[in-house]
Symmetry: C2
Subunit: 333 residues, 2 copies
């Protein structure tokens, strides 16, 4: 069935599988959808595997994100974990639990969003499982990649420089706008419309930094992604190396659009940078001797490289401008 | 926190991750829970990947299955797909969406069930993602394995023998008992209590046939598992080879306990064998010349090997006792 203007109750599971096979088709390179498992190959020494769940009502809302954006982001967050190992993505499998009143067009757009970003990063979606859901939409994505020597978040030494590869807080600014759209609509804010579009785009369609991860992974480094906010990344770096991460807040890169939205929202943009999360760039600690090479390679990729602090001897903790901060509580349950 | 007599709202996400890390610990062989991704290795030429979703209320009910059994079965169904490629399991990642009123003890037992079967089959659970669920429990499991030459379900030739490696219909019999427990409770049925326990065990704790899959995978074969009932397996074999699968119903192995429960239920046990599903043994088509070797190797493993039919020239269809049967409808949505 080619038409997709019915619900899944009308179109059936076969339609979902047929659309997935058509949109994700790997062109015969690997065995994809249609056997008991997918069959693929790894050439490098190590496999890296990551899984993320996205739940409707918690991680996305159909009112504020298109299916296309949800598909993009589901892949992006996993690729960001692959990037954080200095690895290359290879293949993915998708688990989908869908209520029977889900429109076929929603599923089709989800697949198209997944396909676009997968293609950009050389990822093949090779299999999956589709089931009914008694409630909300659940998306489970597992991505497997490879690296000769994956970069862990542990093992930094005193004096290693802490760097970030992107502007922090932009995703939080985008989310604030999506949740406060009435505040954009009065005319005095319309001059900022391009800023608004930019941070919303960063929230909806984050771009995983695969190539930047490989650059940082070429030599000694601790590496992770900035998915839970810069404070949490620095805390994990500190714990992973048993050292204190000393951060200079005025070095944290926050772009102008984020600052303008923060002003509109009446919040300190540093709060969004430290706690907002979902920025999906990379945070690394590297020896001083590597800084020039990394910085010039990242510049060549068009990727920001900003030193925001240093690892130093001391308890595993984070000092922001010499003050010890504790994590904001965030609870999944 | 060691105690698990609270709900997840009380225990928190950290508790879930700490319990997973403790129960699934890989003893340092691989990088497991705690970095951006798991880090593992593949030695053989091909990777095989499978994913399955289990949704509370659809695939299991907390009233009729213990958390331990759910954990066991979640792993078993994936390992059965690995077995159906003639492959060896290596590692798994787990996605869990849990309502905040889920008891910690339920999660602990789920992990213990997963751990027991994983250990039996050399599978390491190396990572995962835990999120809240606004409704039911969702479990997503991805398993990766390896094989020099994975066995597909395609490419059979006329004259190849169709064999099964286990008794069909037992899982359906077990499910019927679980859903009709009041019928077991009158005294005249108590003499059958061991039979009942046996088929219920087959439904709750299926045993994937990894070693049998490797035996069949040593040479030419088409192979799949019997998860959706014997009719569906034969239909997929027929379609995969573009041949007719001719099945002799009296050769289909149905054990005595299943026959006795079928009598109690007033159904033809052949219906359960053909359509019941969830038996998780293997269905293969192999050249005549391989039968003696396969049969003797499976016997050595204590695994049943029964020829139930043959592939022959003709449209891709299934003939049961020379009659063409169509699939029963089964809809996920």
């Amino acid at each position: 069935m080619e038409i997709n203007d019915g619900t899944l109750a009308q179109l059936g599971e076969e339609w979902v599988i047929a659309r997935a096979a058509k949109i994700f088709g790997t062109g015969g390179q690997w065995v994809g959808i249609g056997d008991d498992t997918a069959v693929t190959k790894i050439e490098k020494a190590s496999a890296v595997t990551t899984v993320d769940l996205l739940v409707e009502g918690i991680h996305f809302r159909r009112e504020t994100s298109s299916a296309y954006d949800v598909g993009w982001k589901a892949i992006a967050v996993n690729l960001s974990d692959i990037a954080a190992m200095g690895a290359s993505p290879l293949w993915a499998v998708l688990g989908l639990a869908l209520p029977k009143d889900t429109p076929g067009s929603w599923v089709e757009e989800l697949f198209r969003g997944m396909k676009e970003i997968s293609e950009k990063f050389g990822l093949s979606i090779v299999g999956g499982d589709t089931v009914g859901s008694p409630g909300k939409i659940f998306i489970s994505l597992t991505v497997i990649g490879e690296a000769e020597k994956p970069v862990l978040r542990t093992g930094g030494l005193p004096g290693w420089q802490i760097l970030v590869t992107g502007y922090a807080g932009a995703s939080a600014a985008g989310l604030w706008l999506l949740e406060n759209s009435e505040k954009i609509e009065n005319s005095e804010n319309l001059e900022n419309i391009e800023d608004f579009a930019r941070v919303i785009e960063k929230h909806r369609r984050p771009v995983p930094q695969i190539e930047a991860g490989k650059v940082i992974g070429r030599g000694e480094a601790c590496l992770l992604d900035n998915s839970d906010g810069l404070f949490r990344s620095c805390q994990l770096l500190a714990e992973g190396s048993g050292l204190t991460a000393r951060i200079d807040s005025k070095e944290i890169p926050i772009d102008e659009p984020t600052r303008r939205v923060a002003e509109l929202a009446g919040v300190d943009p540093l709060d969004w940078a430290l706690w907002g999360g979902e920025d999906y760039h990379l945070v690394a600690a590297v020896p001083n001797s590597r800084l020039a090479e990394i910085s010039s390679s990242l510049e060549g990729l068009g990727v920001l490289c900003r030193v925001v602090g240093v690892l130093q001897a001391g308890d595993p903790k984070v000092l922001i401008d010499e003050k010890r901060l504790e994590a904001h509580p965030f609870r999944h349950f």
